[in-house]
Symmetry: C2
Subunit: 163 residues, 2 copies
DNA sequence: AGTATTAATAGGCATGCGCTTACGATCTGC
DNA sequence: GCAGATCGTAAGCGCATGCCTATTAATACT
């Protein structure tokens, strides 16, 4: 006994060969977010506001609640964000003629300009980081990340309603 | 001049070919964390407690403050966590004979057992996710992730004190 | 017409967390 | 042996966030 064999469960248990994914992903996410912050500050954008600008225009978004859900924000908490963005002329919020309860959201040209400028800034910083990766792994890392990001099981809300 | 050309910045700006890294990493981290939660609950461990168990024993940790820093916890906030872990016999907290201010932290055998069991469970779930990746990208993804995770610039605290 | 639903909005409650202060015990330098 | 720094600990402030309720306007169901 006390042997350091490796079989002790269903699969290859024992001492793992890598840290938990979350243990790497979460700090990385934090670090990336911290890198973004100064850029956002420079443009007077909060993280939520940037998130709104990003997701507006990518997908046709109808209601504010739907937007909130896609960016995983609280329905009631983005309202001040939208107020601010609209007041600054970065988004438009017109009542839907077909259903006058909903406000149709869209990016204004200035909104798109700002979004593009900020995103370029941010991705420029990210590229500096990616450059640190061995070239052989860079592509796989990015593809893997995008693939996981696209998995529906990882979106808790969608995964729940299987009907 | 409303042409939809793509050059408009310093480098390859315009519409980016991928989402921001943080925009993928952060939700992924959240999803992974959510996947871990039931496992942790099943073992009666909170996230901070698990984090402590993980990092104890990997590196020789002397002071509680040092532990707190490595797991990015607040010095004062892990104390109840340590209290609980010690009360459950998962860690030991003996006064250092050389400096009786500091408590030497170590994993008990039960602590190590629990940590290994939980981590196997967690990584088993993660492997199910990784299996969804194209085999060609899986290795690069993991290596890239580990490489970025190991970068010192991404640890805000260490990066700051360059002196 | 009359009731139930849904969108947007406001407000409030509870939680978790980072940060700060305070304090006793202990160590170190002078 | 005293002053200042350090460790562990307690307590509290403030912010961001998730969640829940209520209100109002508009739509849908019957």
């Amino acid at each position: 006994m006390a042997e350091n064999a490796a079989d002790q469960g269903t699969s290859s248990a024992g001492r793992p060969t890598r840290p938990d994914l979350a243990a790497m992903l979460v700090p990385l996410g934090r670090a990336l977010t911290a890198m973004e912050q100064p850029v956002l500050d420079a443009h007077g954008l909060a993280m939520w506001a940037y998130s709104v600008l990003l997701h507006l225009d990518e997908t046709p978004i109808r209601t504010q609640a739907a937007l909130a859900e896609t960016i995983r924000a609280d329905k009631t908490r983005i309202i001040p964000v939208l107020d601010d963005l609209a007041a600054r002329g970065l988004i438009r919020r017109q009542p839907d003629p077909e259903d006058r309860r909903v406000r149709l959201l869209s990016l204004t040209p200035e909104g798109r300009r700002l979004r593009d400028a900020v995103q370029s800034d941010i991705q420029r910083g990210e590229e500096r980081l990616l450059a640190r990766l061995p070239a052989a792994d860079r592509g796989g890392f990015l593809r893997g990340l995008q693939a996981l990001h696209a998995l529906p099981e990882l979106s808790p809300r969608k995964a729940a309603d299987g009907r």
